[in-house]
Amino acid sequence: MTHASPAVLLAAARVSREVVPARAQMATTLGFHIILACLGIALPTVVLLAEFIGLRRRDATALLLAQRWSQAMGVLIAVGAVTGTVLSFEMGLLWPGLMRRYGAVLGFPFGVEGVFFFLEAIFAGIYLWGWRRLAGWAHWWSGVPIALSGIFGAMSVIAVNSWMNQPGGFTQRGGRIVSVNPAQVYFNRAAIYEMPHMILAAYMVTGFLVAGVYAAGILRGRRDRYHYTGFAFGFVPAAVLTPFQIFVGDTAARAIAHGQPVKFAAMEYVPRTSRHVPEWLGGVYVNGHVYGGVKVPGLDSLLVGFGPGTKVIGWDTVPPAYRPPVVWLIHLCFDVMVALAFLLLLAGLWALHAWWRHRRLPPQRAFWWAGAVSGVAAVVAMECGWVVTEVGRQPWVVYRLQTTAAAATTNGGVITSLSVVIVVYAALGTATIAILRMLSRRWRRGDPDEAAVPYGPNPAPRDLAAGEVGR
């Protein structure tokens, strides 16, 4: 926006100092929030599913699970709401350059998201705190807008991210945006695969996390209907969605090979544009060599264009300054994500097989171990996916249009805010997990001891059966 060249040079010099901590802070806060965002998107659906079955079949266990999950959801939505606000502020506090230049373009999807965020928060207020006074089905319906607005809100946020990967829908002249087509911004070329990819990921993360909690309980010998039901409500939807996710992910990778070839080259170790490109499974790329990976000749070309002779674009097509840093990180994250998806698929197939043959879940402890870690695996896979898409786009914040360094704040002291963020988020994460564990212990004891706490009044945990009678 400035014209004087010395000022620009000075600004550029200062920018380069802050961009690394700014990226680290964005990664920390986004990486933390995205887990809560997944739960915010998909947990309402899982809770509604449990409540639906509870109401439909008069199943007290399912209703009890729904009630308890919605208590946990109350905590998770609150933490998700505030960590999401942090990201809103950071758009301006860390990336004023991005907002100054492209705020008018990428703002529209955020505005749409705002409407859904409203609906989510309002109906969460009704659903979470309406258990006692709303009649069964009225209460169930009050939760439906939360589930729907979670999906549409996620679409809107992903619209922004995919726009950064495949910008379009505007014209700029002399560094100023002169016209915008909001529909094209929202439904950009990457949105078509990023939206389903992330929403499916949210459902998988949530389902497997829920399943993991109860699988862990079953491993500890709590083999009762309560735990099996809780496991199934999480595991079944997540396992059913896993093959669809793998399909969407495969489609996405092919679209990236065409739309963002340099990112794809980093994902798959393609230094030079060529045909018969091998697929590397694992391995670390250092100075032109891949150490420790398994090479499958021609497979990468085959995956990209369904034929081993397909030409795949390498990162040699752009000057070194425009190539992503740490290629090995991008590649390994991509491989870990894919591998975990297939392992989760295997766990689902195992359960399907046992159900088909014996009408029950597999009795082997190995299956329950898999179930117990499936939540963590899904979270790791999702985080890896974000590393691939975000680090893979570097050095650009808006692909081929604005560098991350040009977007970063010119204010010093990002190191300070980064340090504070790390400390606060560590405490926040620890407290959230501790509180969820505490809730679980309290439920297991089923005792009303907390009513005696004098700081403030406290929920009197009703007799669990009383809740059912009330309905």
Partner: protein
Amino acid sequence: MAADVVGGILLAGITLYAALGGADFGAGLWDLLAGTTARGWAPRALIDESITPVWEANHVWLVFDLVIFWTAFPQAFAAVMTTLALPLWLALAGIVLRGAGFAFRKEITRLSLRRAAGATFAFSSLMTPFFMGTVIGAIVTGAVPADASHASLAAWTSPTALLSGLLFVSACGYLAAVYLVGEAARRGDRRLRAYFTYRAQAAAIVAGALSLATLAELNNASPALYARLTGRALPLVIIAGVCGLAVVALLAGGRRGPGRHSLIRVIAALGVAAVVWGWGVAQYPVLLPGTPVTLANAGAPHATLVALIAVFSAAAVLVGPSFALLFRMQSRRLLGEGQHGTLSAAVMPGRTGLPPSAQHQQRPSPERRRGPATRGAVLGTIVIAAVIRRPRRR
């Protein structure tokens, strides 16, 4: 034209955030000042029950306002976020700690931890309005340059900015106390009604005094704005003053039905809205005072502004009725007192369906809580005193 409409939308969003979200922060002030555990029991319970189902929805107005700001006026947004980075970071810290502290307090059972969560909630409820106030104060006094490239401490530590920070805190406390009077009345709790009536009146006086002080300070810091506040925005300034006086008078005279309390609430919110719109009218069409940046020349391309107007219309159609439903259910007490979560609060003996044993357990036992709570209150007072003293020191 479109830019003016979006400017109006932004101001409306700020008004709603102030009137709804502001009261939730103000409730934190009263939670902080509620005193020892035994004495503070009842007010804290009422506060908790009143804001639990609504605070997240109210909070969304802030996010919505930010989005409108950066989409419609990106250059000005970047300038504000750069110049006022520090108070914005601090306000943000307040938001995070307030929300987390509040949500955690509800679920924690161990006394010491619950106190820690409650104190986090209460202290951070002061931070956000204070620093937001300094941000607005800095913008109003023209301390934000159009081409800002670095943060400025002087921008938000001017007397006007600090005064407006304090004004925001007191206005939030005032709104919260007025709303809580209504909540207490709805529950038929005379003692709490009197408790918050007293506080609402005190807060009204403090907020009124700070408003006048800020206005007087503006006369020095920004004579042009002062001239317009006492010029074309004068009707709104007078409305704000009349609303404040009316609330004080109605609270003093009031011992009648619940309709009266809704009226008082509306008048109080109207007073705050008049202040916000008085600011808007006085500043129009300038976006960043002291710079040539106006709504029209800082606005995004036409299509973006139209899209924002469409988004706001959609919000009005979808979100408006939803909010009405939420507040209606809240006022009929259909939410909370729940299965879980709600600090069951209003559960005073003989008024609820709680089994007697549980009621008995809820009575605090005095020996256990006095010490640390008193210490907490003293600490709180010291912090408030320190906050209040800041402007004098600078």
